[in-house]
């Protein structure tokens, strides 16, 4: 305690006591304490309040002593004590007998004002196509599954079909050996047996460095697939930037009116031709860039401004890297794109698609065992592969991805289960976890 003191410092002392922070206590100008809330106080608060008031009275008494009044005698006689209690002897951690009831509150995000564009894939006979049903993605007003705003559409899975036999991880291949030479049967199988929402036909044999299948011939495969299944489809080229525009033009032509997704327009090929094919024959465009948000903006802008593709016909693929092989970039790239869109960047407000199948490129997904002998045993690969694809997709679903291109039936089943659980459409028996510690496993 300061030895010399002026009355004008009184206010400072009281301030140091943090009196304002106590609810129900106000300090008036003429040093009157006004205490409200008496009987309704819970014991802990009452204790804390008592502590503060006692401290204040001690300081007051000290001031009194400085002014020459024997305050200690007053205390002693008032409480029947031999000597004055010291502040340091007051218990600092009171034994609390009752819970300090408290209400949890949290605000919704206030700057997610821009909805993501809705895009419909596939067209029924009423709309000039022949699909039995359509798929609509996008339309979000918040990050996926967040309580801030209801998510209008669930996630969808389109399963890969190739126009020729390709190298696949053993765990994947086992599911397709019977259909590997017949894209139409392959497409039927993924819809009928593996619950695919859509089918992607990849025309990889058109690559001049593979089979150089003519665009016209490849288009026949598209027709076959459209005949074989009645779900919406995605048409992929071979990834060859010289050949793809021609291949996708022919494919778009034979699929006229079906509102397929043409995969893909990118900055390293003649995207104008892809966009024009989509416009001429009534399709959507997949806008594909490589893990670079500014490139994604640039391509979307070019598709809209230069090629006049309407907003409701653009889906983005910002690139999927596998778990352990750059998923951190892919995840954050998507999350940034989605947040930017929600906060008003109109060049990024499009639904997203992920080439989740890329997960199978990770050695952990397909190798029999670790190539490094210091590693612990990797266990059976038939279980490792599908979960690699699931976790890759799941991470991106939380970053805002809408549609998944996938390969393994178990991966598809589990990814649908978890994303639809998060979406809120999976009912299940309630489980009581209050005593989970004692659970037998």
């Amino acid at each position: 305690m300061t030895k010399k003191m002026k009355l004008s410092q009184l206010g400072d002392i009281l301030q140091d006591l943090d009196v304002e922070s106590l609810e129900g206590v106000t300090v008036e100008g003429d040093i009157e304490l006004n205490i409200t809330g008496g009987g309704g106080l819970n014991p802990a608060l009452a204790y804390a309040l008592g502590n503060e008031i006692s401290q204040i009275s001690l300081h007051m008494a000290n001031i009194g002593r400085m002014l020459g009044f024997p305050a200690e005698q007053l205390f002693a006689s008032a409480f029947g004590l031999g000597e004055m209690p010291q502040a340091g002897q007051l218990p600092t951690s009171p034994k609390i007998q009752e819970l300090l009831a408290s209400k949890f509150e949290v605000a919704k995000v206030d700057n997610w004002k821009n909805p993501i564009q809705e895009v419909t894939l596939g067209a029924t006979s009423g709309d000039g196509g022949s699909r039995k049903s359509t798929v609509t993605i996008g339309g979000e007003n918040a990050l996926p599954y967040y309580f801030d705003a209801e998510m209008p559409h669930r996630n969808y899975v389109t399963m890969d079909v190739f126009d020729m036999p390709i190298g696949m991880a053993k765990a994947v291949k086992g599911n397709y050996e019977d259909v590997i030479n017949d894209p139409a049967e392959w497409a039927k199988k993924v819809v009928r047996d593996f619950n695919a929402d859509m089918v992607t036909i990849h025309l990889i044999s058109t690559d001049p460095l593979i089979n150089d299948t003519p665009a016209k011939e490849a288009a026949k495969v598209v027709e076959d697939v459209l005949q074989a299944v009645d779900v919406p489809i995605v048409i992929g080229g071979s990834g060859n930037p010289e050949k793809d525009p021609e291949v996708l033009e022919k494919a778009a032509e034979v699929a006229e009116g079906e509102r397929v997704l043409l995969a893909s327009a990118s900055l390293n090929l003649d995207y104008e031709r892809i966009a024009k094919a989509a416009m001429d024959y009534g399709h959507n465009v997949l806008s594909w860039t490589q893990l670079e948000i500014n490139a994604q903006k640039e391509l979307n802008r070019k598709l809209m401004k230069q090629c006049n593709v309407p907003r409701e016909r653009i889906v983005m693929d910002p690139t999927t890297a596998a778990l352990g092989y750059g998923l951190d970039y892919a995840y954050t790239n998507m999350e940034r794109i989605r947040l930017a869109g929600l906060m008003g960047d109109d060049e990024l407000t499009f639904p997203m698609s992920s080439g989740t199948t890329n997960a199978w490129g990770a050695r952990e997904a397909w190798m029999v065992s670790s190539p490094l002998n210091q590693d612990s045993d990797w266990g059976p690969r038939e279980y490792r592969g599908p979960i690699w694809e699931i976790v890759t997709g799941l991470a991106l679903s939380l970053a805002g991805n809408d549609m998944f291109m996938m390969m393994h039936p178990t991966s598809v089943q589990v990814l649908k289960e978890i994303t639809q659980t998060l979406y809120g459409s999976i009912e299940s028996e309630e489980i009581d976890i209050t005593n989970w510690i004692g659970a037998e496993v």
């Binding site: 802990a44 819970l99 408290s102 209400k103 670790s370 976890i433 496993v441």
Partner: protein, 469 residues
């Protein structure tokens, strides 16, 4: 953190530019404080008595929004919490999610020791380091304090890993604490019924304690406030992990809400969060389904704000993806994506050693490098400048071309004809389509390597040295 510009931190620093912290100026040091790459205690002058007030004030302003809690002792000490942001790109997430695997006190002793050893020995090499798991959670399934204490003791004899003591019975927890008090374990858990007794144990033994209020955020906050008032902020919050259906969705919502409130400045709830993917085993009987679902639940809450979790499955197909998704989320996004393009010598290459080509994407480069080095293959390895894009994507996107490879090799001052005896380049299997072009561009023989660098040793046996054409 309550401030976000270096200038705001600078105001509190001595402003002498003394250089003690390793930075040239106090302003540069202030920038490191804001991005959390340096600690305030790195500034030795500010620790002097005359700056005490400024130190304390700045220390308070720099404190992370989510409190940091320590579990364990020594070099196995684990920190959880300490985050300042909701999205990793805004800064980075700190203190990666700690994975605790359960044992129970009714397990056969031999099984228990074997399981603990498996857990503490589990490792997976990745980009220069081993990924490992972190803790043992001892569950009391016997209901017997003595049995529980014995199990805790056995675990401690087997491992230095930090412990979580799991029971709702204060007598059991006390018995466990008596044997493990020197290890700074985490208590699990106080709930609305036992909070008084468990709270006193936490205070008496000065250990962190988990507060468990399944799907009741008001109760969770009530417990947290009460414990803070009782005198401890070494708290971990468990809002309950319900494994399936609508309950799971609610669990997700609870995690997002608690973390958002904490980051937004509600100090009463700004503590690390615990997830218990273990509950997946209460929903699935079949062990493969349970392991799969547990992995999925663990992944969701590794991404969304779980700071510590209790798991059951030790199957590699569960642990490997869990370790990798954690690394994915907690890797600092500010670290460079690329390595410097150019030639790297692996081992001690000679003129007879192979010349391998890959990209300058850091992950690709380090994977290839570790596969080669760990198999003791001497070689020249080129990181070609692909703007940090991996092989397959760079071939598709035109960032990895024959010209780029030619330029990359030439710019290193390396002459394939003079500096090697074989005039041969090995390109990645995923870049096979470039073979002809690279031959034309470099005039060298071009061999196509395996699609995965893990197969380089086997490939070398068959293909190296190259047959003279």
């Amino acid at each position: 953190m309550k401030i976000n510009s270096p200038l705001e931190a600078y105001k509190f620093l001595p402003a002498t530019n003394c250089g003690e912290c390793g930075e040239a100026t106090c302003m540069a040091f202030a920038a490191h404080l804001i991005d959390r790459s340096k600690k305030l205690t790195d500034c030795t002058p500010i620790l002097e008595d005359k700056f005490r007030k400024k130190y304390e004030e700045l220390d308070g302003l720099l404190a992370p929004e989510i409190r940091e809690v320590e579990i364990g002792v020594g070099d196995k000490i684990a920190k959880i919490g300490g985050d300042d942001v909701l999205y990793r790109h805004k800064l980075t997430f700190f203190n990666q999610t700690q994975f605790a695997y359960d044992v129970s006190d009714t397990m056969d002793e031999k099984d228990l020791v074997e399981r603990v050893n498996y857990i503490q020995d589990f490792k997976k090499f990745y980009v220069g380091n081993f990924l490992t798991v972190d803790m043992i959670a001892v569950r009391c399934t016997s209901g017997d304090p003595a049995k529980f204490a014995a199990a805790v003791k056995k675990v401690m004899e087997t491992t230095d890993l930090p412990l979580i003591l799991c029971s709702f019975d204060p007598a059991v927890l006390k018995a466990g604490l008596e044997v493990s008090k020197d290890r700074n374990p985490l208590l699990y858990a106080a709930n609305k019924d036992n909070w008084k007794e468990v709270g006193e144990l936490a205070l008496e033994y000065d250990v962190a304690v988990t507060l468990f209020a399944p799907n009741d955020l008001d109760m969770l906050k009530t417990l947290a406030k009460t414990f803070a008032e009782m005198g401890t902020e070494k708290l971990v919050l468990d809002p309950g992990t319900f494994p399936t259906g609508k309950q799971f969705k609610q669990t997700f919502t609870n995690f997002v809400k608690v973390r958002r409130a904490g980051i937004d400045g509600d100090r009463d709830i700004a503590y690390p969060i615990m997830a218990v993917p273990f509950t997946a085993w209460m929903a699935h009987d079949d062990p493969v389904s349970a392991s799969y679902w547990e992995t999925v639940v663990a992944s969701v809450f590794t991404i969304k704000y779980g700071d510590i979790m209790i798991l059951h499955s030790t199957e590699p197909y569960a642990m490997l993806p869990e370790l990798h998704i954690r690394d994915t989320i907690y890797t600092d996004p500010r670290k460079p994506v690329t390595v410097d393009p150019g030639m790297y010598k692996v081992g001690e290459p000679t003129a007879d050693s192979p010349v391998l080509v890959t990209t300058n994407f850091a992950l690709t480069y380090y994977t290839v490098e570790s596969d080669i080095a760990s198999n003791k293959i001497d070689c020249y390895l080129w990181a070609i400048d692909t703007d940090g894009i991996g092989v397959e994507a760079a071939v598709a996107g035109g960032q990895l071309t024959a010209e780029k490879i030619k330029k990359g090799i030439e710019e290193s001052g390396f002459d394939l004809k003079k500096d090697t005896s074989h005039n041969t380049v090995v390109i990645p299997g995923l870049a096979a389509r470039l073979q002809g072009d690279v031959e034309d561009a470099t005039g060298a023989n071009v061999l196509v390597g395996p699609a995965d660098s893990g197969r380089i040793p086997g490939w070398m046996e068959k293909n190296w040295p190259p047959q003279n054409k």
